[in-house]
Amino acid sequence: MFEMPSGAEIQSIISILKGGAGYFVPEIYLSALFMVLILLDLITGKKNRGLLATVSIAGLVGSLFFIFKQQAMPDTQFFFGMYSLDRFGIFFKYFFVASGILAVLTTVIDDQLKKHESGMGEYYALLVAMVVGMMMMASSTDLLMMFLSMELVSLSAYALTGYLKREPRSSEAALKYLVYGAVSSGMLLYGFSLIYGMTAETNITRISMALAAHGYDQLVMILAVLLIMAGLGYKMGAVPFHFWSPDVYEGAPTPVTAYLSVASKAAGFAMLMRFFFVAVPQGFDVSASALHIDWLSILMLVSAASMIYGNVVAIWQKNVKRLLAYSSIAHAGYLLLGVITMDQLGTQAVLVYLSAYLLMNYGAFYVVILIANRTGSENLDDYRGLGKRMPLLGAALTVFLISLVGLPPTFGFIGKLMIFSALIAKGSLFMWLALIGILTSVISLYYYMLIPLNMYLRDSENAEQGVMETGMGAKLVTASLMILTLWFGLFFQPIANYAKYSSVLFGAFLN
């Protein structure tokens, strides 16, 4: 039934591919970087840490150039509609590269990884691979591409999580992550298959057309959406698909934790928004049932659950990494609020919130790593009296946490402001969600403040009280992150405007 394509056809295909490649430069470039890193690792022996780090940072920074060049290009779809180039995607490309750079920076200061005996080659390679994968997650417009990119991210993530082979918690985290991830992606895949079955299409734009044209069976659609939500929810770490995240965040090497909690979550959101805004923008037709059933209502429940669950459970944590893990679940909930409004303002809000989250969460983890290097512990009780012993870090961490709570004058506050603005702009429709968000953020204050509470209000039992010195570079990074968090808290115009500019998805029509 399939007849072979003629030579001419093959020619045309190749030319099309060539044409598309022009829009694909950053990804190609980063894949190259990936290769380079592996080769470097093979060539240079064990003593290559500094080298690899520098190369990967240099490479990542270089990629920014190509991304920048893409801004001039018109929004388009290529590779037979498999992949798209639009402002939304570009924003996330910047985002992931930035997070990649930060990941490298956090890696180089982490003592755990320094002590890691078998080299770091694959580590940086995998890091870059993840960047590529996430970029593709953000830009792919075809179910197949989405699945592939997501798997790419997941596989590298498993490996990175289990990178500390001697560390039981690391391995355990890897195992859980793996099993959980595999099943979730399996569900996602099954959901995709159902969609494909209903529409005979894999390109999301055409899917939405098909859905609009021929209609579909409600029940199957719901099943498909639920399964897809399971897959995406796992990437975003949203209740009730979050279960992996606390354990993985706790077990993984801290830089990886930071990376996962920010970047792969963001990738999940990018994909979520693209899929739902483009493939099923109108939700479902509600005529079918009295109860207003559509994917929006599912998202609402997910987001409410995430906000409540994440914050409430975080109160109980005494391990800082785990605490931040739970809080990241809550933040997924806040981000979903922006998605629910399903308009440009909401998208803009999500983008702003994400960039805020990038700064503050990375800042927090950065300081946590620095502290862990000194005290060798991530337990809340071991933070006692640290405020006096490392003044800068203490202050910085406090700022990041305040920002995570969402108090002015920090970037986090702006994120919350935008999100809630988006909600309230919709009138009283989403007010109850806004209320949940507000109240849970009060709860979040409590557990976030536990850290400064221990750092400043309590004195450590152990005798030595001297000031703990940290490297100049580390101090510099911390300080700059802190200043940025504060600066954008007061002058967020550029970022917010850029987010507005970027809140345009190919093939999606947001009011």
Partner: protein
């Protein structure tokens, strides 16, 4: 006779099978202790999806389904590789491949 029966096999049959496979996979994943068996369960899930894709691409026409299943198979292989590495590592550190006994981090 036989051919008729073969011809009378429709989408539903395939879908039923895939659902069964999916269910079996989930069941295996949730109940089996041995990590390897769990991975098998994952394979079942993926292949259930594959069956869907192939069925749909057969009955809707078009190649996307076939492509999809091909890539899935490839990915499954890759995933298995990573998985095995991790499982081996687990065995090294925990001296067991019983997933349910690997629960030092909780709550």
């Amino acid at each position: 006779m036989l051919t008729e029966q073969l011809l009378s096999i429709g989408v539903n049959h395939f879908l039923t099978i895939s659902v069964i496979l999916f269910g079996l996979g989930m069941f295996a994943v949730m109940t089996r202790k041995n990590a390897i068996v769990i991975l098998m369960g994952v394979e079942l899930i993926l292949n259930a999806a594959n069956i869907n894709f192939l069925t749909f691409s057969k009955y809707n026409g078009g190649m996307e389904g076939v492509m999809f299943s091909l890539f899935v198979i490839v990915l499954a292989a890759a995933e298995a590789a990573v998985a095995l590495a991790i499982v081996i590592n687990i065995f090294k550190t925990f001296k067991t491949v019983d997933v349910s006994s690997v629960d030092t981090m909780k709550e």
